[in-house]
């Protein structure tokens, strides 16, 4: 068997043979493309831990929907989404209207939401793990989830392209934007909405670990390769897509669980970037110390 055939067998064949592999790949692709820029912006705004917070913020909405409508996937997903939007929105509002920082207000509101959710579930007395319904796994992506996540990704990319400039300025010099009008607040709200949408969609299709992992790890790794916002986002998206593809193959060939494989691969990209990335990595710093230009 020639090398080419072997490569094809290893890297392409699993996707040809199995529909679930194809779907998983497309889901990773969609999520990676939209989470690249969003994750980058989160890192730049020092909101890196927000993803996990939002995963917990879903709970009261899902719990309430469960109480009202029973075990309906649709009701619980929408309930969870509404709760997450409320938490994100309130946190953003508080950060804007008071001197409190966004990471602190986020922490406050997500904890309140989480406790409320646990309370609702306990009062109802059912120990069924609600969240298992809300969080999917990458290998079980069905048509509905795939459409949802692809739709969200397309929407996100479109919206981000449109509001890219005000979003960036809002991070960099919020006073400037405020001075020109109140658009900054709307842009920020829009960003939070996109964030929650991507996360909730990601949770539903792929589970928390993967959604947050693919959002944050590539973005943190990109920092060691690119300098400007748009190139950071592009590198992050690339890392996310590669992690998805490679992780699925790892899971397939080495019989490892899929979600952790993908995220750990993204993590190893991060470690590699940290060590030998082009910009400001440990290696780059060592090298730059050795030689310098004349001016």
């Amino acid at each position: 068997m020639t090398l080419l055939m072997w490569l094809q067998g290893m890297l392409i064949q699993p996707f040809v043979e199995f529909g679930f592999m194809r779907r998983a790949l497309v889901a990773c692709l969609a999520l990676g493309l939209s989470c690249g820029p969003i994750g980058t912006l989160l890192v730049l705004r020092r909101m890196s831990l927000v993803g996990d917070a939002i995963a917990h913020a879903l709970l009261p909405g899902a719990a309430l929907a469960f109480v009202l409508f029973g075990f309906s996937l649709w009701a619980m997903s929408i309930g969870g989404f509404v709760a997450a939007v409320a938490v994100a929105g309130l946190a953003g509002l508080v950060a804007r209207l008071t001197p409190q920082r966004e990471d602190a207000s986020f922490a406050a509101f997500y904890l309140i939401a989480l406790a409320a959710g646990v309370m609702i579930i306990s009062i109802r007395g059912n120990s069924v793990d609600l969240m298992r319904v809300l969080f999917g796994t990458v290998l079980a992506v069905d048509d509905a989830s795939l459409l949802l996540i692809a739709g969200i990704a397309s929407l996100s990319l479109l919206v981000l392209a449109l509001v890219y400039r005000p979003l960036v300025v809002e991070c960099f010099d919020p006073g400037f934007l405020r001075h020109l009008g109140n658009a900054g607040a709307w842009v920020h709200a829009l960003f939070l909405m996109l964030l929650v949408l991507n996360l909730v969609g990601g949770f539903q299709a792929l589970g928390t670990l993967m959604a947050v992992g693919l959002m944050m790890l590539p973005a943190t790794a990109a920092r060691f390769w690119a300098a400007e916002v748009w190139s950071l986002a592009a590198v992050a998206a690339l890392f996310a897509v590669l992690s998805g593809w490679g992780g699925l193959l790892l899971s397939y060939h080495a019989n490892l669980p899929s979600g952790p494989s993908i995220v750990l691969l993204a993590g190893s990209f991060y470690a590699l970037s940290l060590l030998i990335g082009r910009r400001d990595s440990l290696l780059a710093r060592q090298l730059s110390r050795r030689s310098h230009r004349k001016a």
């Binding site: 699993p14 199995f18 120990s127 793990d129 796994t137 069905d142």
Partner: protein, 323 residues
């Protein structure tokens, strides 16, 4: 005081009570007469046992289950109110065979000193890796054993407190045994009527060992798969290949596991995705599997339907999981 779970059941119980009274030559004044209050408080570990206890004990008992319908006894975590319930119980019914890992601690914590029924006592067990398979109730013959064990303890407890009610319980137990026996015969006939090669299904949870032995159905379990862990792509691919090659009739979903993955495999392998099988818990009151007998009937019907239909390929709308 009667338990008003749902009107049809209440009516049925009223009717049975009347029959029982007639059997002992005591006539109630009128159908609308007051039914005698329950004597024993029975706490069962999970819904199947609770239902059997209710059927056997009738109005003489007030039964609650610690792990209710659609809940998973494997991940149950007792709350303070559960401890209180056990403490104030007269009889505790457990499955045994190490099904409820938490029950011993719970009984100890509550200080309960009364009789504990091990419903599976006397059952011929089948072995699985790590000990005996605890899901003995999946065979109706064992179900009869369960009912008998429960009857014995209930009667013993009643004899001490309200000997007048013993006859009623004995009669109910006898009727129930007949019912289970008839269902058992019926089930065997139905499966025997199907050709052997159709009696193969794939389902994720390996709780139907006793069922398989009793009625000749082959349950193909995906290897190395439990409800808790996340599968690898290799495992899923293997199952799809296995499903394609196994010539199983259908893919069936269980009520306590993630059905989405099962659906995906069904679509991929072209197997019919059948309805839910109930194994570890009954469904909520008023739904299709809210008693032990109905659960059994539902499982049998689902299996027979899945096996009989000769629809290759499309999984159809049967993929919806009844919730």
């Amino acid at each position: 005081m009667m338990q008003f779970d749902s009107t049809p059941r209440a009516l049925r119980r009223a009717f049975l009570t009347l029959l029982a009274s007639a059997g002992t030559a005591r006539w109630s004044v009128a159908p609308a007469a007051q039914t005698p209050p329950p004597v024993l408080k029975v706490v069962a570990t999970f819904s199947v046992l609770a239902d059997i206890a209710r059927e056997v004990g009738g109005t003489a008992v007030e039964v609650t289950a610690l792990v209710g319908p659609n809940a998973d006894a494997h991940v149950f975590e007792p709350t303070p109110s559960d401890v209180r319930r056990v403490a104030s119980a007269d009889v505790v019914v457990t499955n045994g065979l190490r099904y409820e890992g938490w029950i011993d601690r719970l009984i100890k914590a509550s200080g309960f000193r009364g009789p504990v029924v091990v419903a599976s006592q006397g059952v011929v067990t089948r072995g699985v890796s790590g000990g005996a398979d605890p899901h003995a109730w999946q065979s109706l013959a064992n179900g009869q054993r369960y009912a008998e064990n429960i009857r014995a303890v209930l009667v013993a407890a009643l004899s001490a407190r309200a000997p007048a009610r013993v006859a009623e319980v004995e009669a109910r137990a006898a009727a129930y045994q007949q019912r289970l026996a008839a269902l058992d015969r019926d089930t065997r006939e139905r499966f025997a009527a199907l050709p052997a090669e159709r009696r193969r299904v794939i389902t994720a949870h390996d709780a139907f060992g006793y069922f398989s032995d009793a009625y000749g159905v082959v349950f193909i379990a995906p290897r190395g798969w439990t409800t808790g862990s996340e599968p690898s792509a290799k495992a899923v691919a293997a199952i799809v290949r296995q499903a394609r090659a196994s010539k199983a009739s259908a893919l069936l979903v269980e009520n306590i596991s993630d059905p989405r993955l099962i659906e995906r495999i069904g679509r991929e392998s072209g197997l019919k995705v059948g309805g839910a099988l109930y194994s570890d818990a009954l469904s909520p009151v008023g739904t299709e599997a809210d008693t032990y007998v109905r659960m059994f009937e539902h499982n049998v019907k689902t299996l027979v339907d899945a096996m009989s239909l000769n629809v290759p390929g499309a999984s159809g709308d049967a993929g919806a999981v009844p919730r």
